[in-house]
């Protein structure tokens, strides 16, 4: 005798047209919309946040002075309380200028002159007590533009 097929109700019974599903399905399409929206939001905000940039300088202090030094060329940039830069009492640029171009050009000439004489160029910034930080940063920009690497701050105790 051939083995009889076990009784299979799904196979043997007539199919129902549509089984009412026991679990409700998650609507995928609107969820993807939501997720994409969030994805784009986080992508945009993560790149939009302004990055902080650097301007470096060294404070004077533990400089070793054992070797005899070539006397470097030095320029002192004074800043008044409004942020007006001046060198040897001659004012350069206007404090509200976005960049100190006259000062930058002068420093560039100064740098070339000291390079030609093979001496180091040093710039000392001497701000007034009330000089705003932004103006000091603009002076440092001008110094950086002129490719002068040695920057000092004149710090006087009154």
């Amino acid at each position: 005798m051939p083995p009889t097929k076990p009784f299979d109700p799904l196979f043997n019974m007539p199919q129902l047209k549509q089984k009412p599903s026991s679990r409700p399905a998650i609507p995928i399409a609107p969820m993807i919309d939501c997720v994409f929206l969030m994805l784009i939001y986080f992508m945009v905000t993560s790149s939009l946040e302004k990055q902080e940039a650097d301007i470096r300088f060294q404070l004077p202090g533990l400089a070793e002075q054992s070797e005899p030094l070539d006397l470097p060329d030095e320029q002192i940039i004074e800043l008044n309380a409004q942020g007006q830069p001046s060198v040897n009492e001659y004012p350069y640029d206007h404090p509200a200028d976005r960049r100190y171009q006259e000062l930058a050009r002068m420093l560039s000439r100064f740098k070339q002159a000291s390079d030609a004489n093979r001496v180091e160029s040093i710039v000392t910034i001497a701000p007034d007590d009330e000089t705003p930080h932004q103006n000091i940063v603009k002076v440092m920009d001008a110094i950086n533009w002129a490719q002068i690497k040695n920057v000092n701050f004149a710090i006087s105790d009154h």
Binding site: L39, S46, Q51, D54, L59, G61, L62, V137, M140, I155
Partner: protein
């Protein structure tokens, strides 16, 4: 695809929250010559800002400290890491005398490497 999208979503969410270093939010001066550094290690962040009653507050990381306490913290960290750079963050209108106090305090404990934090001018 949904898996991928979720992965990206979670990635950007964590990145955007993790990117916040320990520092207070502050308006910085703009600079045209400053560079965004690749390497942010060896840094101690000091922030200066005006408080509500017009005095200047000093923050080391995100904790407000006095000048003396700040000096002590820098002194301790410079012993641990001699290459420490001081990342000085302050508002564009901060007068130089306030910055000067901090610079002198840093120089006194041997922190000579100073970095001004700025935004890049476009």
């Amino acid at each position: 695809m949904i898996d991928m999208v979720f992965l990206l979503l979670v990635f950007f969410m964590t990145v955007s929250t993790l990117a916040q270093e320990e520092r207070i939010p502050l308006e910085l001066p703009e600079s045209e010559q400053a560079d965004v550094p690749d390497d942010r290690t060896d840094r101690g962040t000091i922030s200066l800002q005006y408080s509500d009653n017009n005095t200047v507050e000093i923050f080391v990381g995100s904790s407000p400290l006095s000048l003396k306490e700040m000096q002590a913290v820098i002194k301790a960290s410079i012993l641990e890491n001699p290459d420490l750079k001081i990342n000085l963050r302050t508002t564009p209108d901060m007068p130089f005398k306030e910055i000067k106090r901090v610079l002198i305090a840093c120089a006194e404990v041997g922190a000579h490497d100073i970095v001004y934090a700025t935004y890049q001018a476009l």
